[in-house]
C-alpha cells in the first residue's frame, strides 16, 4: 500500500461499471475514513443535459466514489477481485447547483460505519470550491467477485 500513486490508477480497474456508465474520474485521496475523487464532466456524459451535469449524475458520482474506494481496498489491500456494489439508500440529499459540462468536480466521502459489506457514508460534491450536492449514502457489496 506504500507509495501507490493513487492518481495513476485507471479507475476502470477498480469498478465493475463499464463506459458509458463510469461516473468517476480518478482517486485523489484514500485513508481509513475518507476517500476523494475528481471527475471531469465530459460534454457527452450521459447525465449532461443542456450543458449541465444532472442531479442523477451527481448521485451516481457519489455512489461510484464509494465503489472506487471498495475497489481500491479490494485490489491493493485485500488483493481480491472487483465486487458489484448496489446502493442501499440515499438520504438527506440536497442539490445546491449543477456543474457545467467541462468542469471538474471533487467528491468527498467520509465513512461513518462499515460492517459486513455495508458502508454508511456522508458525501459532498464540489465544483471550484462551491458545494453542489451532499447526501448520506448506504452501499452494499455483493459477495461474489467479478
Amino acid at each position: 500500500m506504500e507509495n501507490i500513486n493513487l492518481e495513476s490508477i485507471d479507475i476502470h480497474t477498480l469498478l465493475p461499471q463499464q463506459e458509458p456508465f463510469v461516473m468517476v474520474g480518478r482517486l485523489t485521496h484514500y485513508d481509513d475514513e475518507n476517500v476523494e475523487t475528481t471527475t471531469t464532466i465530459a460534454p457527452d456524459n450521459i447525465f449532461v443535459d443542456n450543458g449541465e451535469f444532472s442531479s442523477a449524475g451527481m448521485i451516481e458520482n457519489i455512489a461510484q466514489t464509494c465503489a472506487a474506494r471498495i475497489g481500491f481496498i479490494n485490489k491493493y489491500i485485500l488483493k481480491k477481485g472487483v465486487q458489484i456494489g448496489v446502493i442501499g439508500n440515499v438520504r438527506k440529499l440536497k442539490i445546491n447547483g449543477h456543474p457545467k459540462a467541462g468542469s471538474t468536480i471533487t467528491t468527498h466521502v467520509q465513512i461513518i460505519e462499515e460492517l459486513m459489506g455495508v458502508t454508511l457514508a456522508v458525501a459532498t460534491v464540489s465544483c471550484n470550491g462551491t458545494l453542489m450536492a451532499q447526501s448520506q449514502i448506504k452501499l452494499a457489496v455483493k459477495e461474489d467477485e467479478k
Binding site: P20, F21, A56, I59, V86, V90, L93
Partner: protein, 123 residues
C-alpha cells in the same frame, strides 16, 4: 439523457383513488444495462430515481429535476431479465410554487424494489 424510450417505455398509466400509477416496461437491450453490468443487467438505483422524476413530469406537465431527497431506499435488485414490467405508484404529490414533492413505491405487486421520497423543481 432521457431514460424514457431508452431504458423503459410507459405501457400503462392509471389513476386509482387520486394516485397515479405508471406501469413501465424495461428494455434489457438498453446500453445502460450492457454497462451495468455486463452479463448481469441491474437497473441502476439512480435510473430508478431519474425515472421517478420523468414520470412526475408526466403528472405535472413540466420537466422535473431532483433538488432534494428525504429518503430513497433500494430494497431489491430490479433486473429487466426477471422483471419485465414494474409499477411506479405515486402518492403524496404536492406542488408549492416551482417545487413538487412526491412519494413513489416501485413494485411489481410482489416485491417492492424501491421507495422514493423526493422533491423536484421545474427545470
Amino acid at each position: 439523457m432521457i431514460l424514457q424510450n431508452q431504458l423503459y417505455t410507459i405501457s400503462d398509466h392509471k389513476t386509482e383513488g387520486g394516485k397515479d400509477i405508471f406501469t413501465v416496461a424495461l428494455n434489457p437491450e438498453c446500453f445502460i444495462y450492457k454497462a451495468h453490468f455486463p452479463g448481469n443487467p441491474i437497473t441502476p438505483g439512480v435510473c430508478i430515481v431519474q425515472t421517478c422524476a420523468e414520470l412526475l413530469g408526466e403528472i405535472t406537465g413540466k420537466k422535473m429535476e431532483i433538488i432534494a431527497a428525504k429518503d430513497i431506499k433500494f430494497l431489491n435488485v430490479l433486473s429487466p431479465l426477471t422483471t419485465a414490467t414494474v409499477d411506479f405508484a405515486f402518492s403524496a404529490v404536492a406542488s408549492d410554487g416551482d417545487n413538487t414533492t412526491a412519494k413513489i413505491s416501485v413494485t411489481d405487486g410482489n416485491e417492492v424494489f424501491a421507495t422514493v421520497a423526493f422533491t423536484c423543481s421545474a427545470h
